[in-house]
Structures are given as C-alpha cells and as structure tokens.
Amino acid sequence: MAAVLVDHATVVYPSGVKAVEGLSMCVRHGEIFGLLGLNGAGKTSAIKMLATLLRPTAGRVRILGLDTMERPAEIKRRIGVVPQENNLDTYLDVRQNLAFHCRYAGLAKKDYTPRVEEWLALLGLEGKATESVLRLSGGTKRKAMLAKAFLTEPELLILDEPTAGLDPDVRALLWDKVGEFRRNGGTVFLSTHYLEEAERLCDRIGILHGGRLVAEGTVADLARWAGRDASERGGVEAAFRRAVGGCS
C-alpha cells in the first residue's frame, strides 16, 4: 500500500486560480520523495492537499490508505507537518508551543513531557525554552517547527521547505533526523528549493511546473530524461531546467 497516493488531483482556488492540475503520484512506505518547482509552481498547494488543509477540487488523495475527504482527522493523527510559514503560537513560549502541540494531538502529559525535553535538548533550545517565540530568530523558530513535526511520532512527515533559513549545521541535523526517521520505517514527502539536497537525499523526485507534474523518477531516471549520464552529478538540476523550460 502506498503512503501517499494522488490520483488526478486538481486544486482550484475560489479566485479561479488553478494551483494544481491533474496531479498523480505515488509515494511508497519508507521512501523520501522530493517535490521541486519554481515559486508558484503549486508545491505548497499540493502539500496543503496532502496535509488535508485543502480539498482537491477534482481527483482523489489517499494518505496512509485513508481518503483525505473522508477521514482527515485520522490522517492528521498519523502525520507530522512543517508548513512553509511558521505557525508558532506567539502568545506562548517555546516549551509551551511544543507541549500544546502534543496536547492538541491528544497525548497525555506523562508521554509528551520527556519528548518535549528531548527535542529541546536535541535542537539546542533548552536556553530558549521559556522565551516568547516573538523574540526568537527565524532559524530558532524553524527549529521549534521541526520539533513539533517529530513530537507526535508520525508515520509520514510532510515538510514544506523545511531547511529554508536554517544554518548548515542545523540542516545537517535535520537531515540526520529525517534519515533516522526513514530507517525506522517512516515516509517523508518534502518540497525544497535546494536541488543538490534533493539529489543527495531523495529516493525519488517530482518536478512540478504550472501545477502539473512534468517529470518524476529516481535521480538516475531524471538525469536520463534530461539527456545526461545517470552516473554524473547534476542530473537533477539538468532535469529541472528542462522541466521548467529555462524559466529558472
């Protein structure tokens, strides 16, 4: 069974803008799937659709075998999401943000308290735990967002530009945790602007352009599609340039 199954999904906003058009893709359990695209390509709309925040106007989306239209609450219980923009609660401090995230998910205090402390320590946030998120730097806010996604021990991580604004060492730490998550059987769906990062980390990559999936496959598949030798580095970049028609 696929972890993510998108079948001819289209998203049209009330304004009439068609953000995603006829998108079909399948992400297998235990895979890291990367979605690439220019700004406005439809990546965030696609990710919101997977996270059940947007309903497909046409087509179907199944997450962990569940239809997003029929069982959104159950899906949300089993996924961890890092949206593109921070959604930390500005009235709370960092520790409270993590704790309330767990409480909203229905976790008991005895279960979430050690996890919160563990993630605060892991991301070097112990010294910031009682600070209001309003006073945090962009990178620190992003770390807290990442911690939230892992805290509820999801089966599928959905990450929208997770490393944007992060220092190289925090990026390395994130990818380390993502790798560990995958080794433990988790599935990862991410969007990124970093082509080299996608090439290095993702099992398969999709390239979205104008709301349509114009190329999809392994790094080697994409390199061949772009007319490059599959063993050469830079195949994803070449495929990306071909997919977006030189717009990059």
């Binding site: 009330p14 309903r55 959604n87 930390l88 909203y104």
Partner: protein, 252 residues
C-alpha cells in the same frame, strides 16, 4: 473534550503571560465603569424603580459577558490569521466541528468568567447582588454563547478576519448603546423600543436586570427567553456554515 480543555488551558496560559493586560481588561475597566456610572453618576440620577445604579449595573455585567467571547475568540482568530496559529489548530487531529466547539466553549467560559468578575465588582462597589441566581446564570450563559457564535460569524464571513474586526467594531457600538445596557427596555420610547428588539444584547441585559432586581421594570422572562432562543436559532447554523466554509479549505 481533551481538545476543548487543551484550548482553554492554552488561552489561560496566554492570558497569564500577559497578566497585566488581562487584569486591566477584566478588572480595572469594569471597575472604573461601575464606579463612575454606577456609584458617582448613578447616585445623582433618580430612576424609576430605584437608583440608576440598579438599572445600569446588570447592563455592565451584560457588556462583560458579551465582550469576553470577542476577546478570546476574536483574539484567537485574528492572531490565527496574522501569525498562522489557526493552521496549527487546523492540523490538530480533530474534526472541524470539534475545533468550532472548542472555540465556542472558550468564548462561553471567558464570557462567564468576565460576568462573574464584574458581578463581584457590582457587589463590592454598589452593594448589589442578584436575587435570582439561576436566571442570571441562564441569561449570562445564553449571552456568552450567542456572542461566541456572533464573533465567529462576523470574523469569518468576510474573506479575512481583519475586515471582520472592522465590522465587529461597527456593530458593537449600536448593540451596546441601543441594546438596553445603560437603561432598561421600559425607559425606551418608539421607535427605539422596536429597534432594541432586534438586538440580542437587549434580551441579555433585560434578563440580567430581572435577575438582579425582580421588582424593577424589566422585560418578561418569556420575551427574554424567546429572544435568546431566536438569536440562537439564527446564529448556530450561521456560525457552523461560516466556520466550515472558511476552514474546509485553508487559504489564509
């Protein structure tokens, strides 16, 4: 229920973090109102059925009951829009209607808490206590519930809640001043007495007035309950529709 309590705890934690602001909002503002209009001005003005303070004090409790939901729900929705906390709540593994219920439950709790604080101030400053506590609790609960729903409708029907906030400010002034908070319905002449019947604040203030001073002029209990029920019959489906329409697809 867990989610409802988690959100209530979150609001309490947020208010505790802004303790001074919360204290000013919940204690100092109503205390000044009661002291000036009830104790000072109220002592100077004669009014039918007792002093003006007796007429006005339940109205101040009513104002507190209806503004509590706006502060908590409105604050949550507006910061949810500007700081994207609404997205965090929408990602919680609960049905959309549970989130709606949690917000309304929070508004209800804050409305009742505000009403209780002001009722205590009324007793401390003016020496007035409700004669019919059951009727007071019923009216205040209905009032807090209605204004929780009303807040959601006003903030969520426009495309963005910042526009709704302007509409709310525009509506609250006439609702307060024409809604029998500073005088009793009995004191109103035509055509304002007809206009007042359209405002839910009228039934809340008059219900509280009856609970405080059964001997003073006030609206009949049947009319109060009919008005509150009619408002609930309109606002419950409207709030449900506005909430689901806005958040089934999260586009903020």
């Amino acid at each position: 229920m867990k989610f409802l309590l988690a959100l209530l705890h979150r609001n309490a934690a947020a208010d505790l973090a802004a303790f001074k602001l919360t204290a000013v909002r919940m204690l100092v503002q109503p205390a000044v109102y009661l002291f000036v209009f009830g104790y000072v001005v109220g002592g100077m003005l004669p009014a039918q059925g007792g002093g003006y303070a007796r007429i006005m004090a339940p109205g101040i409790v009513a104002i507190s009951v209806v503004t509590g939901p706006f502060v908590t729900i409105g604050g949550g929705v507006i910061s949810g829009y500007y700081f994207r906390t609404m997205e965090e709540w929408l990602l919680a593994p609960v049905p959309l209607r549970t989130l709606l219920a949690a917000l309304v439950f929070n508004g209800l709790c804050y409305g009742l808490a505000g009403g209780t604080v002001v009722a205590a101030l009324v007793w401390a400053i003016l020496g007035l206590a409700p004669q019919n506590v059951g009727y007071m609790v019923l009216t205040a609960t209905a009032g807090a519930l209605l204004f929780s729903l009303f807040t959601l409708v006003v903030l969520l029907v426009p495309e963005t809640p910042d526009k709704g906030q302007e509409v709310f400010s525009f509506l609250m002034m006439p609702m307060t001043f024409f809604g029998c908070t500073f005088y009793s319905y009995d004191m109103l002449g035509a055509p304002f007495n007809y206009l007042a019947l359209l405002l839910p604040t009228t039934y809340i203030a008059e219900g509280l007035r009856a609970a405080y001073s059964p001997d003073s002029p006030h609206m009949e209990a049947g009319t109060v309950l009919a008005g509150l029920s009619l408002a609930a019959a309109v606002l419950i489906p409207l709030a449900d529709w506005a909430f689901r329409r806005r958040f089934r697809d999260f586009t903020w």
